[in-house]
């Protein structure tokens, strides 16, 4: 962003670095790479968002109006993949790049060149996903879960998607190795693990989840690839395989993936809420333990996505009990955040609004998660719009709201310029209201029995679908306002004060000037 470019001028003289586009292609600076990740994620958010609006447009009325069912399925598939792998995950890797070195007092990430490569894999992966629409047969219309054996029926777009998943996985694994190494080896003297800002803790744990889960996904899609082209029968009963095996492997990745997305969001919120409450985070140690507990539990609950495949009753009960256990550490986190606000001295700038919005709606999503964890209720609600509502409360009101909170929170530090507070608040309220109009009613649709991933629906679902579609368009437009607010701040925002937020107290606020220079902590800070 512009402030970084300004400071870059005098900072790079001893590297002989490039200017222009080549600067961004060759950069090994964690701040540049963080910026790249964030802009990439925003572009993907727009691409995935357009697909979401196409879906809501078709669902505005019963009947087939705009897209044939095949194309509709392609949209639902690519919307999911692009939002999960292209928008949300890279956004938080962007935060990690910017923040982790500054928060632990390190000069940069441990493997600077690897960092460049883990970013530059992403545009290629994203291109493969988008190009798949233009191949014969189009993009795969199988849902983001890519369930076998439907994948076998797809055209070459399926293969592009599989390769894209490989690249995305590689990028995530390399990024995670980098984060783990940075946190474990490059903390400033005196910054012991239990002194780190919680954001670093949540990312450390997330990085371990990624290293453990992404290869499993790569394995699953590779098995699909060989089933498609090389005569294997991993997921084909006629050859001795089992289609349900794919689901087991996928969700062994897929459930940790939920926390890969949620934990860094918890981390951001755990920085924002204390800052605007002017009070230390309540129960720091229990936050660390709760995060670890969630991470460990996330590996033994995967089959709760598969209650209807026909598991033995013992299996259903085990996964039900294990899943409900997650409510305990998650509850601890929610209680800690509320206790942090309790007796604080609260102000409600945009980051805090988004953090409170997160807390409120994520908890709602957590409760619907508890409802879904119970086998008998899930048998009714599985693969209905209730599930769609549930995971959008967790992914959008959870992860995306936290990402917005983080952007508004750190933008002044990164760019040295303030965003427009009034417009920021407008962005929050519009997002909050339209989000609920879009997704709250989907709970009703699910309860009443509307299956997910259908391009057309029985007449009794019409009214809530109309409401939801209107909400979706409002939500989409509100995000253009976000883009405007950010661009306005970067170009012509008021100069940020040295300490934009009086309550923020991690190293980047206390030990570094605003805006942060291109290189920071070349000598480690002295910690009391």
């Amino acid at each position: 962003m512009s402030a970084v470019i300004d400071t870059h001028g005098h900072a790079h003289d001893h590297h002989g670095g490039y200017g222009g586009v080549m600067r961004w292609i060759t950069t090994t600076n964690h701040k540049d790479i963080g910026t790249l990740y964030l802009w990439f994620s925003f572009i993907m958010f727009m691409v995935g968002g357009v697909m979401a609006l196409a879906i809501r447009l078709e669902l505005f009325s019963p009947g087939i109006q705009f897209f044939n069912p095949d194309l509709f399925n392609q949209f639902t598939t690519m919307h999911g993949l692009i939002m999960v792998f292209g928008a949300i995950m890279p956004a938080f890797v962007g935060f990690a790049n910017w923040q982790i070195p500054m928060m632990i007092g390190a000069p940069d990430m441990a493997f600077a060149r690897l960092n460049n490569w883990s970013f530059w894999l992403l545009p290629f992966a994203a291109s493969l996903l988008v190009i798949s629409f233009f191949t014969p047969g189009g993009a795969p219309g199988v849902g983001w879960t890519l369930y076998a054996p439907l994948t076998v029926q797809m055209g070459v777009g399926m293969d592009l998607t599989i390769f894209a998943v490989h690249l995305l996985g590689m990028s995530s694994i390399l990024g995670s190795i980098n984060i783990i190494t940075t946190i474990l080896n490059m903390r400033a003297p005196g910054m012991n693990l239990m002194r780190m800002p919680l954001f670093c803790w949540t990312w450390l744990i997330t990085a371990y989840l990624l290293v453990a889960a992404m290869p499993v996904l790569a394995g699953a899609v590779t098995m699909s690839l060989t089933d498609r082209h090389f005569g294997t029968s991993f997921f084909n009963a006629a050859g001795g395989g089992d289609p349900v095996l794919y689901q087991h492997i996928f969700w062994f990745f897929g459930h940790p993936e939920v926390y890969i997305i949620a934990l860094p969001a918890f981390g951001v919120v755990s920085q924002v809420i204390p800052a605007f409450s002017r009070k230390p985070l309540f129960g720091y140690a229990s936050m660390v333990y709760a995060t670890s507990a969630i991470a460990i539990l996330s590996f033994i609950v995967w089959a709760h996505h598969m209650y209807t495949v026909g598991m033995p009753v013992q299996g259903q009960l085990f996964f039900m009990y294990a899943t409900t256990l997650i409510a305990i550490p998650t509850g601890v986190k929610v209680f800690n955040w509320v206790a942090t606000m309790w007796q604080g001295s609260l102000t409600f700038e945009t980051p805090m609004l988004f953090a409170i919005g997160f807390l409120f709606l994520f908890t709602l999503g957590g409760f619907t998660g508890l409802v879904l964890s119970l086998v008998p209720i899930d048998i009714q609600l599985h693969d209905t719009y209730y599930v769609v509502a549930h995971f959008h409360y967790v992914m959008v009101a959870g992860a995306l709201f936290a990402a917005f909170a983080g952007i508004y929170f750190w933008l002044p530090k990164w760019t040295g310029r303030m965003y427009d507070e009034t417009l920021g608040k407008w962005h929050f309220w519009l997002t909050m209201i339209f989000f609920n109009i879009t997704f709250f009613v989907q709970h009703f649709l699910g309860l009443a029995g509307m299956p997910r991933r259908i391009p057309d629906y029985p007449l009794m679902f019409e009214s809530w679908n109309k409401v939801s579609s209107i909400g979706a368009f409002g939500f989409g437009l509100a995000q253009l306002l976000f883009l405007y607010v950010v661009l306005k701040a970067i170009r012509s925002g008021a100069k940020a004060p040295e300490r934009p937020w009086e309550g923020a107290d991690s190293l980047e606020w206390t030990h570094l000037p605003t805006p942060v220079p291109y290189h920071t902590f070349e000598t480690p800070p002295v910690l009391k």
Partner: protein
């Protein structure tokens, strides 16, 4: 008067538009009565409703409890009101309490849930066993044990394509109507075996609390016991390709007497409708029959125009396969095409239907082979 006409025209049009939008938005809300689980039609569905209500009440109480603390804080502990921040950051007692109490709440939720799970999984001693097969994109029903044993039929969407494509007003049961309903007797334990011929589907009847994926190559089971007569409607709930949204499930629950009568009629109908595969049929006879078969089985992909939706769903009009050697085409229709959505119709259609279908495609649109395919030719190519 004349000068201000355009302006007034715009204003009037805007007002009309506003009225239409708001009126329609209000009517939408007024119609939105569908917001909870469908009325239960079996004991298990009732138990699921009760469990859901119980959990929702607990969740609501906890949610309101927790967030009243937060909103009190938002209201009272504001800097703008001059509230000074306390600096406490831990309290072992309260942290233990808010770990242990949720754990206890989970136990009291898990207990009733476990009871329902076990009841739901008990498929022993059924009165009637029906095998359900998911096809792209219809359901096959085989009565395998109990009264009606031997009945077997395919159940396909009955909503006309004109309604789906908005060329005709939509009927009351739009997308929830089929040509052949599944008929079961009231009060009897029905065991459903699910499987699939191509990809994974999922059979769901919300009113009975019964949902089970239909997995190709495997048989899974579930059961329900309908407590009242009536017609119950639902849809496939596992994404199974292009027409996933168009394979409804309709169950008609009838009294024992009506069921007995239905079984008798159905048996007679099957006997009467049995096609004679040894007969020689005329071209026109085959074409007419073939058109009906095509409309039920092929039109979703290959389209009424025969132009298909290439490249995933190829055209038949002018296609090499259709105009080429007939044996090759018959083989494809019988056995399907691996790794595509082209299903194997050998198991779904009889020799006469298949012969009629192939004859139709070879003598429709611009295809004019003049060949009449006889059932015996299909029979000869069956493996």
């Amino acid at each position: 008067m004349k000068a201000c006409k355009p302006a007034r025209g715009i204003a009037t049009r805007a007002a009309q538009l506003l009225a239409v939008i708001s009126g329609w938005a209000l009517s939408g809300l007024a119609l939105a009565a569908e917001w909870n689980l469908r009325p239960a039609g079996s004991k298990i569905a009732t138990e699921i409703h009760d469990l859901h209500e119980y959990v929702m009440i607990l969740c609501t109480v906890i949610f309101v409890g927790v967030f009243s603390f937060m909103f009190w804080s938002v209201y009272a502990h504001r800097k703008s009101k001059g509230h000074k921040a306390a600096q406490f950051h831990e309290n072992t007692t309260i942290e233990i309490l808010w770990t242990v109490i949720p754990a206890i709440i989970l136990v009291i939720i898990a207990l009733p849930a476990t009871r329902v799970v076990i009841a739901q999984k008990d498929t022993s001693n059924p009165d009637l066993t029906i095998k359900v097969t998911g096809y792209q994109w219809k359901w096959g029903y085989d009565y395998v044990k109990g009264e009606g044993e031997g009945i077997s039929f395919i159940s396909t969407l009955a909503t006309p394509r004109e309604q789906i494509e908005n060329r005709a007003p939509k009927g009351e049961h739009y997308l929830l109507e089929v040509d052949n309903e599944l008929v079961v007797p009231v009060g009897k334990k029905v065991r459903i075996l699910t499987t699939a011929a191509d990809v994974i589907h999922s059979w769901w009847m919300p009113s009975f609390g019964a949902k089970q994926d239909a997995i190709p190559g495997f048989i899974r089971d579930m059961h329900f016991r309908a407590e009242q007569t009536g017609t119950f409607r639902s849809q496939c709930v596992e994404l199974c390709g292009k027409e996933h949204g168009f394979m409804p499930i309709v169950v008609k629950v009838v009294t024992q007497d009506e069921y007995g009568k239905w079984v008798g009629d159905k048996m007679k109908l099957i006997a009467a409708a049995a096609d004679d595969p040894n007969k020689q049929y005329a071209l026109d006879e085959l074409r007419t029959r073939g058109e009906q078969v095509y409309a039920k089985n092929c039109v979703a992909c290959h389209q009424a125009t025969g132009k298909g939706m290439p490249p995933a769903f190829p055209p038949l009009d002018g296609a090499k396969i259709v105009l080429g050697p007939k044996d090759e085409q018959i083989r494809i229709v019988l056995n399907g095409r691996p790794k595509t959505a082209m299903a194997a119709f050998g198991g779904q259609l009889n020799d006469v239907e298949l012969a009629a279908l192939v004859t139709f495609t070879r003598n429709n649109w611009s295809n004019k082979t003049g060949e009449a395919i006889q059932p015996a030719e299909v029979k000869a190519l069956r493996k």
